[in-house]
């Protein structure tokens, strides 16, 4: 089975090989390997970028292949981060509390320990009680399960309601924006149980591994991110390779035609929406320990829009396009906003990239959409000699998400 997938998609092997070489290269040049070339903080940046690439692959699956322009997938990404963040914060605070109480003359009871942990974690929001959603925060296994389960269930419930009433196109996009906005606003509240706008912090410290330097932790997470991207990419390639891929591309280009073939379109959309939400959750769970902090601002509606922009710039409808888009835009973005880009002095005005980067990104998005709808990934076509078939100017289907002629390949 997997062999035929790879045979039909040589790009998967090429991608995995490049990813493997990249991982090896970064590893050898990292502080962990005793080299100075790649700093620990840059290893973290690269690891985070791989996670963004993974969520972009999920976005491409749901938008580029199934034609559902979800502008809410960063909510699932954030939820994944929160789920793992709860365990990281709980366990680490537990360790700190236990060692500080160890000196006490009377050994503390379990209730006292839990109370002290609650005080530590929720002091900032004026509380000390553990909210019910933290009930399993001491169990790594359960919180890891929640990383996929919580985003998956939210996507399932949301998608069931939306797809069943046949909400499509712009209306669906707006609805997903509303979902992520509502979630962000809820989490901003102090009594949401997730520390309001403080979010969860100190996530870069792994409980019980205080003696391990960050140079090691960072490289572990880098490997894990690369592995997750490789698996997510291969899984997505497998999903879109066979008849399932045919059906979801058919849904994208002409939803009602697929219905008249007898396919339950809503079930397919729900499947893709939910699976991609779970992939997004995993990506988020790997991202935030490398970022060190997660707060509700992370899942603001704009984040999900960026995600769509990455995929569009990289080239939707091809998985490596999503990876290229996410990696390229997020690295360039951190270069511009990190103050490394030289200011441009126009004489009468100095362009500071920190302020102007977003304008540049917006303009590139418009330019790509109008002039090169295949995105950066389209450059690969120049090399492999793929051309667009001549459709005499006709687009591929009547549906809102359908591919335009300029995006098609022969």
């Amino acid at each position: 089975m997997s062999q035929s997938v790879l045979a039909r998609n040589p790009s998967v092997l090429v991608f995995l090989a490049i990813l493997g070489l990249f991982t090896l290269g970064v590893t050898l040049m990292s502080e962990w390997a005793g080299s100075e070339v790649v700093s620990t903080s840059f290893v973290k940046t690269l690891g985070k970028t791989l996670c963004l690439a993974l969520v972009a692959v999920a976005m491409d699956l749901v938008w580029g292949y199934a034609g559902i322009l979800s502008l809410g997938h960063f909510a699932f990404f954030g939820l994944g981060g929160y789920m793992i963040g709860m365990w990281l914060m709980y366990e680490r605070t537990h360790g700190i509390v236990v060692s500080s109480l160890a000196e006490a003359p009377i050994p503390p009871t379990e209730a006292e320990i839990v109370g002290a942990i609650g005080n530590q974690i929720f002091g900032v929001v004026g509380s000390r009680e553990f909210p019910a959603i933290w009930a399993f925060a001491d169990s790594l296994a359960l919180q890891l399960l929640f990383v996929v389960l919580v985003p998956g269930l939210l996507a399932l419930a949301f998608g069931w309601l939306a797809f069943r009433s046949r909400v499509t196109g712009v209306y669906l996009s707006i609805l997903t924006q509303a979902m992520t906005l509502a979630l962000a606003l809820y989490l901003f509240q102090n009594d949401s149980g997730l520390r309001g706008n403080n979010g969860l912090s100190g996530l870069q410290n792994l409980p019980g591994l205080d003696h391990v330097p960050q140079s090691s932790v960072s490289i572990w997470f880098f490997w894990a991110s690369a592995g997750a991207l490789a698996l997510g990419y291969a899984l997505s390639a497998w999903i879109v390779s066979g008849k399932f891929g045919s059906v979801i591309r058919g849904i994208r280009d002409n939803e009602s035609r697929v219905r008249f073939l007898g396919y339950p379109v809503e079930a397919y959309k729900l499947f893709v929406f939910t699976v991609t939400a779970m992939i997004a959750g995993i990506a988020g769970a790997l991202y935030y320990p490398q970022a060190g902090i997660i707060n509700p601002a992370e899942i603001a509606p704009i984040a999900s829009i960026y995600l769509a922009v990455w995929v569009a710039i990289g080239g939707r409808g091809r998985l490596y396009g999503a990876v290229i888009g996410a990696a390229f835009v997020s690295l360039v973005s951190s270069w511009f906003t990190g103050g490394q880009a030289p200011d441009v002095n126009l004489g009468f005005y100095t362009i500071k990239w920190v302020d102007w980067w977003l304008v540049l990104l917006g303009l590139s998005f418009v330019a790509v959409t109008l002039l090169a709808p295949k995105g950066i990934g389209g450059l690969v076509d120049l090399w492999t000699g793929r051309q667009a078939p001549d459709r005499h100017g006709a687009d591929l289907g009547p549906d809102a998400g359908s591919l335009r002629e300029a995006e098609a390949e022969r």
Binding site: M1, Y263, A408
Partner: protein, 246 residues
């Protein structure tokens, strides 16, 4: 005679305009039927009702031996019941190859999980090749269907319809935009298909209908104006007035 599809007393109005007006229609197993009528007579709307795209305001649509009502069912469900449809404008999946189009249509399990693990069996591929031969697209199997000519797309859509193995085929203007030779081929395909299943063909072209050599139903203003052999209906005064006389 028990019929495969029975439509009775169906009416539909769009913003007060009665597109279908108390229409009744029945077709039996392995029957070929042509529907003719002027533009706007409601022919396409009739197919929309049977396939679940449009809900009628009143009337009944009964299907099969068990006389199941199709009215509450989704489009996909009706398709799985065994009703296939070809649209007036050819609609194939342009970004996909002829092979992919046919494989998607091929009668197999339709659920997401079954489809996810589906790999074409040798039998499936044989069937696809056989169909491709019938519709003259054997050499085009690997081509993106968006590149096909208009007539070839029509055929591909007919091929997809046959691949579904429906019990009832609803075909809307299959010969539009075809050369005379292509039309002839299309007639052959439809007549052959009607040997084992019911086929309803909407067509404007009288020559084409004559070659089908089947019973004809004339629609006008959303209702049946006349029904019978082509010679019988074309001799009908009312039919000449509304349709042929223009």
């Amino acid at each position: 005679m028990s019929s495969l599809l029975e439509v009775s007393g169906v009416s539909v109005s769009f913003d007060g305009f009665k597109a279908i007006n108390n229409l009744s229609f029945a077709i039996g197993d392995a029957e070929l039927r042509a529907i003719i009528g002027p533009n706007g007579a409601g022919k396409t709307t009739f197919m929309d009702i049977v396939t679940g795209r449009t809900r009628p305001d009143e009337g009944r649509v009964l299907w099969g031996e068990a006389n199941v009502s199709l009215l509450g069912l989704s489009e996909a469900r009706i398709a799985r019941e065994g009703i296939g449809r070809k649209f007036q404008k050819p609609t194939v999946f342009e970004d996909q190859t002829v092979l992919e189009n046919l494989l998607m249509a091929l009668r197999n399990a339709r659920g997401p999980f079954q489809v996810l693990f589906y790999r074409p069996t040798p039998g499936d591929l044989d069937r696809v090749h056989e169909l491709a031969g019938e519709i003259g697209l054997m050499d085009a199997l690997g081509r993106k269907s968006g590149e096909l000519s208009h007539g070839q797309k029509q055929w591909l859509e007919i091929g997809m319809l046959l691949a579904q193995e429906p019990r009832l085929l609803l075909v809307d203007e299959p010969a539009a935009g075809m050369t005379p030779a292509e039309r002839e081929h299309t007639t052959t395909l439809l007549v052959a298909a009607a040997k084992s299943r019911a086929v309803v063909v909407i067509e404007h072209d009288m020559e084409f209908v004559r070659r089908l050599g089947c019973k004809v139903t004339v629609l006008h203003e959303g209702a049946v104006l006349a029904e019978g052999s082509l010679d019988h209906v074309t001799a009908n005064r009312k039919v000449i007035d509304v349709y042929l006389g223009r």
